[in-house]
């Protein structure tokens, strides 16, 4: 009986750990990536069947140099999950000192976290100081759009507007007053809605010109 328990426990030693997504995304993957790039860029998970085997090799056979327990785990997690669906990474929206919002004419460099962008073919693009203004433009110029890009509120990543979640009526005001705040996933949108007294949660397709104008 004791032997069986011991065996079971030892099998659990290196099982894929229960760590929350936030910690993995924010801390472990970036750290693992750094270790990978710096110490063993050629290492992949391809020759390993299980996470345990990979971690064992990293920790005990030092295939990536001597690493502490924490670093080993970060590297193993990064390698193991690296092939997880990596959505298209859009470039960060940057503005120069003289760029203005296409709709209201305000200078954009004062509000870098609020800038959104619509791209057309032939490198034609327009920037806006908020999603409200962008939607006003959008409803009159829908043809030929290549991308619509907005910034996620919490992480400031550039995301595809058509796949984003929007919260209106919150206590966070943009440069144009009441705004649509964009989020890359439903969970953070709901958190924001609750914490900042938001009124509604929409997906892109549910946005209408009437509702956008009602925000003014």
């Amino acid at each position: 009986m004791k032997l069986i328990t011991l065996l079971l426990i030892s099998l659990q030693l290196f099982a894929y750990p229960q760590i929350s997504e936030s910690i993995k995304e924010k801390q472990l993957y970036p750290m693992g990536k750094k270790i990978h790039t710096k110490k063993c860029p050629s290492l992949t998970k391809d020759s390993y069947q299980t996470y345990d085997a990979l971690l064992l090799d990293i920790e005990q056979r030092s295939i990536c140099g001597t690493l502490s327990k924490k670093h080993s785990e970060a590297l193993a997690l990064y390698l193991w999950d690296k092939e997880k669906a990596h959505s298209t990474h859009y470039k960060k929206i940057t503005v120069t000192k003289d760029e203005k919002c296409q709709v209201c004419g305000m200078y954009l460099h004062y509000y870098p976290t609020w800038v959104s962008q619509i791209n057309y073919p032939n490198a034609e693009s327009y920037k806006f100081d908020g999603i409200k203004d962008m939607m006003k433009f959008y409803f009159n110029n829908e043809e030929g759009i290549v991308d619509i890009l907005v910034q996620d509120y919490y992480t400031l990543e550039t995301i595809n507007a058509r796949e984003a979640y929007y919260v209106t009526g919150s206590d966070v005001l943009g440069p144009m007053g009441n705004e649509l705040i964009a989020f890359k996933d439903a969970k953070s949108a709901k958190t924001f809605l609750l914490e900042h007294n938001g009124k509604h949660l929409y997906r892109f397709d549910a946005l209408s010109e009437k509702m956008v104008r009602a925000l003014d």
Binding site: S22, I23, M31, S68, T113, Y153, T155, L156, E195
Partner: protein
Amino acid sequence: MTLLVALVATTLFIADSMKAEYKQDIQTAPDIVVSAQKALRYKTIDETQAARFLEIDGVSNAIPRVWGEYYFAKGNVRFKIVGLDEFENSTNSTLNRLRDRLSYDTNMMLLSPKVKAILNKNYYKDYFNFILQDGTLLRVNISQKSIAIPSIRDEYLIVMPKELARKIFAYADNEATDIAVSVKNSEEIAFSARKIAALLGNAKISIKDDLIVEYEQMYNYRSGFFLTIFIITFFTFFVIIYDRLSGLNSEQKREIGILKAIGWRVEDVLKTKLYEGLIISLFSYSLGIILAMVYTFIFNGGILKNIFLSSSRLLEHVPLQFHLDYATLALLFLISVPLYICATIIPSWIAATVDADEVMR
């Protein structure tokens, strides 16, 4: 006149330079720093708390930091020790560069020039023995490279791997000095701080923006130090002006009288007086500013600097950065030149408009 301008200018320059440097330093600080407290006094924090902070949406990173001071008895000096993890990013780019220059496999640390000098003086050239809490010695090798001149506050800086720092401070494996929290969207910093406060209860949370406001308040023109110097300077100015306004002395009156007799009109006299006043005040102003600059930046502010730096003479040797604030120069100009010119013209005008005969008598 020159000396007066120089005096005020020096004070203002020193303050501006320190303010600018502090502002620069603050930029490298983390958005939020969380430290634990016990009985409202500082205590080390459990680094596993960082995981809880990461669950907050607005928080992009939470790094447990290990840093502190070590008293070197023989040299009567306190070293600031900063522990760095090979794969962690600090918000301070200088520290990130130093992190990359450390060697983590060999027991080694990087020193600032002052620390190196003082250890050298005490016959520690290639290594140093830290005295640990339990009385044992920890030998750490000294790197050949050294840290470039640090800022005013980090003269005695030592950078080493986090694990070594932990040993020196006798920290347990999960103990940290504080946790540096980064929040990507500046709009969300205050809110994230409140959420952290709700998680921890009695922790001390300091936000970067608050630090900036605090410091601005200390260095703005309403603070006590400035007020004292200003009052003295203005008082002197007014004495000069009063002296002028209470009429010219008889010699100057005669001079104007003679000029008028020769046939000079009032405008001519005034013009001459104006040019005279302008030349004197502009010259004094420029000379005063240059003297002040030399005093502040080449002689390092000498005594006056100590008004702002309450610490000991240790800080005297760090050079003040050259920083020119146009607002300060404009202020100095406005308070010296126009006042002086008015002070010279008005009495001259009074004297000049009076009949020539009367004046000469």
